[in-house]
């Protein structure tokens, strides 16, 4: 009975969403405040109903209700509690429900935190979000309901894919989805600005904090996913350019472009139509990502099962949403004025180049991801594009991007003289270059490698990172110098300024991590007998054999590897090879000791049949790899600082006052 309740709330939610998608927008067009006024209550009601559906499904998972088909397919009575909960989004139907739920949460949040906005703007924004919700609810109810019954009930479930039984999965998809769905807010603001025909700087100001919050979720979500791949897949890689990863990376790149372009539109009134287009494109790519992952158009190693009916539905939805938005754009955008003028060299032009480079990067990921599809459709046979393509395209785009990133915060709006800018950064560039050239000479010794490695790519990577840090220091000095007490000057700078600098510092750390791990990692794949040792990066790894151990729902072979340095025991690593009881699927669980300067990474391959007790063992040393994720976290933190800025709080008060005065 309870699952039917969930299904029923979804149906009612669909009615509310439909009403939300129609009445307030109509009301805004006719200036009817009654029709506009229903938007907020509908938004709250929708969240409540989808929340009930979500809670219902959660209840079915936690109480092991295997009469629900989706639960029977993705859970098992042996599955530990927290994974039973995470299993809600372990499959297609539940992920959609999570998506729809988050959409309703964002919608309700916009309803709650938009008291200072004009009524017709709120009505339109909530209306557009309601329409998107209609699409997802219809999709769920017609093709992918998580509440389908399985009668008679299964005795037990088929279990959650063991790869997904991991703390990372408990948080990674929700974070990512919050990001994906969050871009719908920027999208809705852009569409309602187009609908209202008022494309001035105000819509940019309103949608800025929302976009930044969505971007923060997405940044952290992607970082978590990458970290999960690193320790769960057992290959020691942190990014695979898999279609599913790319599906999240493309909207992230455009979202990054969007938050920068919104800043220009707000501050200078420039790039107005470009910003609108970016907002549409970022959300379109989020939708497209869903399409790619869910329709099985790109058969990746991950997913085989797919249903053409679902694909047709999402594609139609996609064409409707994106097509209509782009038509609306084509109709309204020409009326938008050009906005503030700026010179060839100015903060505007630097941000514009940043936008172009990020968009081109996103497009190149897009082409690489869909290339197999294009080639097949054009009859050129089946091909696939791998990491080499992406790396070859990506690096040349990111080098100028990062170079401009250093200059951007130093440049003035409107106009900047090149010699002046050059004079201000010459020391930054010089010291970054010297450090980048010299540091690799010491790296080999520092990381106890057999040989000292110095390569142009390492120097380039370090130069980029140090350049960002050095220009950051220049910018801080510039801001902090001057009259008055130092601490006063420090406090006088806005939080959004510090947020930007923290996020840029994150990019620098990220680049350091990527450069050093690629340049100096040690990877040994070898067959080890009990008692064998291998030396890598100054550490000695001794293989002490594999013992059997019993997990909650799996049996594991646990490898024992002791790691020592200069004769002293550093740590004991225990990588596992698990065999899950229900699915019988084997899984590698790497053992990692993390450190600021290096990770020690050991994972078990396969037992070697002809030799008793011997195993294939992978021993990796990954210098600075954690800097990659530390960088991402800093970017996220920068975003949080930026939205905590005082002006978003004061602004609210100011507008209330204005409203009262008017």
């Amino acid at each position: 009975m309870i699952p039917e309740l969930g299904h029923f709330s979804l149906i009612v939610a669909l009615f509310l969403a439909t009403t939300l998608g129609v009445l307030p927008i109509l009301g805004a067009a006719r200036n009817n405040s009654v029709l506009m006024g229903v938007a907020r209550p509908l938004a709250y009601g929708q969240m409540l109903l989808i929340g009930v559906a979500f809670a219902t499904l959660a209840n079915a998972f936690l109480s092991n209700d295997f009469s629900v088909l989706y639960v029977a397919q993705h859970s098992n009575s042996q599955l530990p509690g927290q994974y039973r909960f995470a299993a809600i989004w372990g499959g297609h139907e539940g992920s959609l429900l999570l998506w729809a739920f988050f959409l309703s949460v964002w919608t309700a949040a916009v309803a709650a935190f938009s008291k200072h906005l004009p009524e017709e703007m709120v009505a339109r924004v909530l209306g557009v979000m309601g329409m998107i919700s209609v699409g997802f609810l219809l999709f769920m109810l017609f093709t992918s309901s998580p509440f389908e019954r399985l009668l008679p009930a299964a005795a037990d479930g088929r279990d959650l894919n063991p790869l997904l039984q991991d703390p990372g999965l408990v948080i990674h998809p929700p974070m990512l989805y919050m990001g994906y769905v969050g871009f719908s807010v920027a999208f809705a603001f852009a569409i309602s600005a187009l609908l209202g025909g008022k494309l001035d700087a105000t819509w940019a100001r309103w949608s800025r904090p929302w976009t930044t919050v969505a971007w923060v979720f997405m940044t952290i979500g992607i970082a978590l996913g990458s970290g999960w791949a690193y320790y769960e897949l057992g290959w020691g890689g942190w990014w695979f350019w898999d279609p599913v990863e790319n599906a999240s990376f493309m909207p992230w790149l455009l979202g990054t472009a969007l938050i920068h372009s919104l800043a220009v539109t707000e501050k200078r009134g420039a790039f107005k139509s470009w910003t609108v287009l970016l907002a549409i494109a970022a959300f379109s790519l989020s939708l497209l990502g869903t399409f790619l992952v869910r329709s099985g158009v790109l058969t990746s190693v991950h997913s085989f099962a797919s249903d053409p009916k679902r694909g047709i539905f999402i594609l139609s939805f996609l064409v409707l949403v994106i097509g209509a938005s782009l038509l609306l754009f084509a109709w309204r955008a020409p009326k938008v004025g050009l906005g503030g003028k700026f010179d060839m060299v100015s903060r505007e032009s630097l941000l514009l180049s940043n936008n172009v480079l990020l968009s081109v990067a996103s497009a190149s990921v897009f082409i690489g991801t869909l290339y197999p599809l294009f080639m097949d459709a054009l009859g050129y046979g089946k091909l696939s594009v791998g990491a080499p393509y992406f790396e070859a395209v990506f690096v040349p785009l990111m080098v100028p991007m990062v170079f401009l990133m250093g200059l951007g915060p130093l440049a003035r709006w409107k106009k900047m003289s090149v010699p002046d800018l050059a004079r201000r950064v010459r020391w930054a560039f010089g010291s970054a270059l010297v450090l980048a050239v010299l540091l690799p000479l010491l790296m080999g010794k520092f990381l106890s490698l057999e040989s000292n490695k110095w390569s142009p790519m390492i120097v380039l990577g370090l130069l980029m990172a140090f350049w960002v840090i050095a220009t950051l220091v220049v910018s801080l000095r510039q801001r902090w110098a001057g009259q008055g007490r130092f601490m006063q000057r420090v406090r006088a700078q806005s939080l959004s300024y510090y947020g930007m600098q923290v996020a840029h510092l994150g990019v620098a750390l990220f680049i350091i991590g990527v450069t050093l791990v690629k340049g100096y990692e040690t990877e040994r794949d070898l067959r080890m007998n009990v008692g064998d040792t291998v030396v890598a990066g100054g550490y000695e790894f001794r293989f002490n054999g594999v013992t059997e151990s019993q997990g909650p729902n799996y049996v594991a072979g646990v490898g024992h590897v002791s790691v020592s340095r200069d004769g002293h025991l550093v740590t004991e690593l225990e990588p596992e090879k698990r065999q899950y009881n229900v699915s019988g699927m084997p899984l590698t669980e790497a053992a990692i000791t993390t450190g600021v300067f290096r990770d020690l990474y050991v994972s078990l391959g396969e037992p070697i049949p002809e030799a008793e007790g011997a195993w294939a063992v992978r021993v990796y040393i990954k210098p600075f790899i954690d800097w990659i994720w530390a960088g991402c976290l800093l970017m996220g933190l920068g975003g949080i600082l930026a939205v905590s800025d005082r002006r978003y709080r004061i602004h609210k008060k100011a507008v209330t006052l204005q409203g009262a005065a008017a």
């Binding site: 139509s273 287009l277 549409i280 494109a281 379109s284 399409f291 329709s295 099985g296 158009v297 790109l298 058969t299 190693v301 991950h302 997913s303 085989f304 099962a305 797919s306 053409p308 694909g311 047709i312 594609l315 996609l318 064409v319 994106i322 097509g323 782009l326 038509l327 754009f329 084509a330 955008a333 020409p334 869909l370 599809l373 294009f374 097949d376 459709a377 699915s583 019988g584 699927m585 084997p586 391959g605 396969e606 037992p607 049949p609 294939a616």
Partner: protein, 175 residues
């Protein structure tokens, strides 16, 4: 004016491709090879590269050709069913390890069990290409004269085994 409509036009072109991509995915498409002789090849075996296998060695028998790989997730779903089938000894199963690394393929079978009468190694995927392998796993039913009678895209399940594959094998055995 034109430049504002451009994003829409690009998107339309893209949608056509996506639609074609969807059409590509329907697994109902009958293989053009059904009813035709199984393409000939000569490939080394997985466990012993010095021994070769050609489909004509199977003439006079009804047999299954199962395309799999160590990297393929859905193959793990069908693996226990193939194990069960091989214990029943109804029909010989020849495995084709598709676009795989020899060591990985061997390790998978050593680890999880080997349901195949023999396994051939199609490491670069050339034979798979001749057979029009679309996605892994795939299973072909081949009759005594070496004609492909049926092709299943996707994993073998208890249901399609019981309802389609085994009745067909029994039917072909009588001929």
């Amino acid at each position: 004016m034109m430049r504002f409509i451009l994003p829409f036009v690009i998107f339309l072109v893209l949608s056509v491709f996506l639609y074609k991509g969807l059409g590509r995915d329907t697994r109902e498409v009958p293989s053009p090879l059904v009813g035709k002789p199984a393409p000939a090849f000569m490939l080394p075996q997985l466990h012993d590269a010095t021994r070769q296998f050609a489909p004509k060695e199977m003439l006079g028998k009804v047999w299954l050709l199962n395309v799999w790989a160590s990297w393929c997730g859905a193959c793990k779903d069908e693996h226990p069913i193939l194990m069960e089938l091989s214990h029943q000894n109804i029909v010989p199963i020849v495995g084709l390890d598709y676009k795989d690394k020899r060591l990985d393929g061997e390790a998978t079978l050593n680890n999880a069990g080997d349901p195949y009468n023999l396994v051939i190694a199609d490491l670069d995927g050339k034979v798979g290409f001749d057979y029009g392998v679309y996605g892994v796993p795939e299973t072909y039913v081949i009759d005594k004269k070496g004609i492909i009678k049926f092709k299943l895209i996707g994993p073998v399940t208890p249901q399609n085994l019981r309802e389609t594959i085994l009745p067909m094998v029994a039917e072909l055995e009588k001929q």
